[in-house]
């Protein structure tokens, strides 16, 4: 590395043209970056424009939304759409329902998954790689493939002596089915975090006479906290965003989750063809803002989890 930089940094004995001098001056150097920053700007605008437009729609009165010519900045900005969204009962309930379901699924996956990750990350045993493969293939499992079976299972199901109640059209059905995608993912990512932890502390604890359970609880779990935060966030977002199962298993508007609610707004006329776009966009902004905040605060954790989940696979 040092040899390379020295070679590159050493003045070259060669006649230097005027333009070359200009492009190497501070002004020239920043000018040279202009096309690059233009590219960055294009990516930036492409990524954020739909959000900007949703904001514009959310503050535009329903009547002016598609007025011709189109108002790019609302002429009469209003908060009516937000009021309308919050006054819609199923939307308010959906925020609570989604938080409940996603929160419960996340905690459950972390609790069960961290035990499994402890076993997979710390002990060598027969069948370990089989379990790892099973978990990996499960993270890519298409949930549509088992929709039919789940559909009949949640509406009353008996497994030998155990009779399960009918949970169709309840939040329990979501709690139960969301584990399909949150749990294998949690185990897979937590195991990779567990393997990255140094073993010295545990060894010291074992020498001091701690049981494996104490080691897990008192030594590993605190060290694993960043991993738990990462996986928890990803599991929460996945459960919060799920649509297929929610659409198939929930009918009662009181039990809608956020994705169901956002597609269920109907206009004054009650016709599903007249969608009240202003209200929908206000609702969109309401659910996007906390997610954006979450992403900004936990950016590093999320990136770590995404790469552990995907690139290492």
């Amino acid at each position: 590395m040092t040899a390379a930089t020295e070679a590159a940094g050493r003045p070259v004995v060669r006649p230097v043209s005027r333009s070359r001098v200009f492009w190497r001056s501070p002004l020239g150097r920043s000018l040279k970056r202009v096309p690059f920053y233009l590219l960055v700007l294009v990516v930036f605008v492409y990524t954020l424009f739909p959000f900007a437009w949703a904001l514009r729609c959310a503050f535009t009165p329903e009547g002016d939304l598609f007025s011709s010519p189109l108002q790019y900045i609302p002429a009469n900005p209003t908060l009516d759409n937000f009021k309308q969204a919050f006054e819609t009962e199923f939307f308010r309930k959906a925020l609570l329902n989604s938080a409940l379901v996603a929160g419960a699924v996340t905690l459950l996956s972390l609790a069960i998954g961290s035990l499994a990750a402890f076993a997979l990350g710390r002990f060598r045993f027969r069948g370990r790689s089989l379990v790892m493969y099973l978990m990996l293939s499960m993270t890519m499992f298409p949930s549509i493939a088992i929709l039919g079976a789940l559909y009949t299972m949640i509406s009353g199901f008996s497994l030998g002596p155990i009779d399960l109640p009918n949970i169709y059209d309840t939040l329990w059905s979501l709690l139960f089915t969301y584990l399909i995608f949150t749990l294998p993912f949690t185990i897979w990512v937590l195991t990779s975090f567990m393997e990255a932890l140094p073993g010295d502390l545990e060894e010291a604890a074992y020498v001091d006479g701690a049981t494996p359970f104490q080691v897990f609880y008192k030594v590993l779990l605190p060290l694993l906290l960043p991993g738990l935060v990462t996986t928890g966030l990803l599991a929460f977002i996945a459960a919060w965003n799920e649509y297929l199962f929610a659409l198939s298993f929930i009918q009662d508007p009181d039990k809608y989750t956020v994705p169901l609610a956002i597609t269920s707004f109907v206009g004054e006329s009650g016709s599903s063809f007249q969608q009240p776009w202003g209200t929908i966009m206000a609702a969109t902004i309401i659910i996007t803002v906390p997610l954006v905040a979450l992403v900004l605060v936990f950016q590093r954790y999320i990136l770590a989890g995404l790469t552990a989940g995907a690139v290492k696979g």
């Binding site: 070679a7 069960i112 035990l115 929709l147 039919g148 009949t152 749990l183 659910i287 992403v295 690139v311």
Partner: protein, 278 residues
């Protein structure tokens, strides 16, 4: 011992239902039907073979998959290369790229649906800039319907693809570029001889993830078209057969077909990976 709860859950919510779906696909089970379920053998699969709606949905899904994965990969790689070079505001850029990934697909679909109305912003901006001669109903017109759903998916997922590739780019040691510069390699040579070969594992994994995701696409299609004929993805057809029509047996056969098609793609990718990486 520690694995028992996890294995129980996985067996109960995934493996058992998978077995049950396979079984159901050989029966004429209907949801909440009064007549008893009977074994029909391969009847469902025979019907499926001649089912033109299903055939259409396969083509729609495969076209969707090829278009979105190609665009997401090309754009994602370009964005990853841009963000990989150091510049002011790089951290902000990375955070911005996470946002489309984090919001629900349904929400992204709704935002685009309003933009793609015939009197929406895309038609308006297009006519103002002179790209379009007249406003266009992107979603209603069967000719542009597929392009519309692709646009949403590409917008939502490209940044995510870029982030995965970026993670791959960042483990390539910098010395390699410096050494090749000393040897007089130009940036293009550096890209083909250093970046691409070393990025290949990350590329393959990303492509597998994206393809499998695209093949089971549901949310965007449902928000845009509902069950509209001609614009159904495979997952839409399976879901509407099971839930709206209540034909659990036939729906299970569709599910199995989807499962096999996805499995086929996995095999293709894994063979490709073995051939290129060894």
């Amino acid at each position: 011992m520690l694995l028992v709860p996890s294995l129980l859950v996985v067996a109960f919510v995934a493996l058992y239902p998978l077995g049950k779906t396979i079984f159901q696909s050989f029966t004429d089970e209907q949801f909440l039907a009064l007549n008893p379920v009977s074994w029909v053998g391969l009847e469902n699969y025979k019907d499926l073979w001649n089912d033109t709606i299903f055939r259409d949905s396969i083509w729609t899904t495969i076209k969707f998959t090829l278009i979105t994965v190609a665009f997401e990969f090309a754009l994602g790689l370009a964005i990853a290369l841009i963000v990989n070079s150091s510049f002011k505001g790089r951290g902000v850029m990375r955070a911005v790229m996470l946002v489309p990934w984090a919001i629900p697909t349904v929400v992204a679909a709704q935002m685009w649906k309003s933009m793609l109305q015939s009197n929406g912003v895309i038609s308006d901006a297009g006519t103002r800039l002179g790209i379009l001669s007249h406003p266009h109903a992107w979603i209603a017109d069967p000719g542009t319907a597929l392009a519309s759903v692709c646009a949403v998916d590409i917008w939502k997922t490209t940044p995510f693809v870029a982030l995965l590739l970026l993670a791959g780019l960042q483990v390539i040691p910098r010395d390699l570029y410096e050494a090749s510069e000393v040897d007089g390699a130009n940036p293009l040579q550096q890209f083909w001889k250093i970046t691409m070969p070393l990025l290949l594992p990350a590329i393959v994994v990303t492509l597998i993830f994206r393809t499998l995701d695209a093949l089971r696409v549901f949310d965007v299609f449902y928000v845009f078209f509902g069950n509209r004929l001609g614009t159904q993805s495979m997952a839409i057809y399976a879901q509407s057969t099971i839930v709206s029509d209540g034909y659990v047996g036939y729906g299970a056969a569709i599910s199995m077909a989807i499962f096999l098609i996805i499995g086929l793609f996995v095999v293709i990718y894994l063979t490709f990976q073995r051939v290129t990486l060894r």
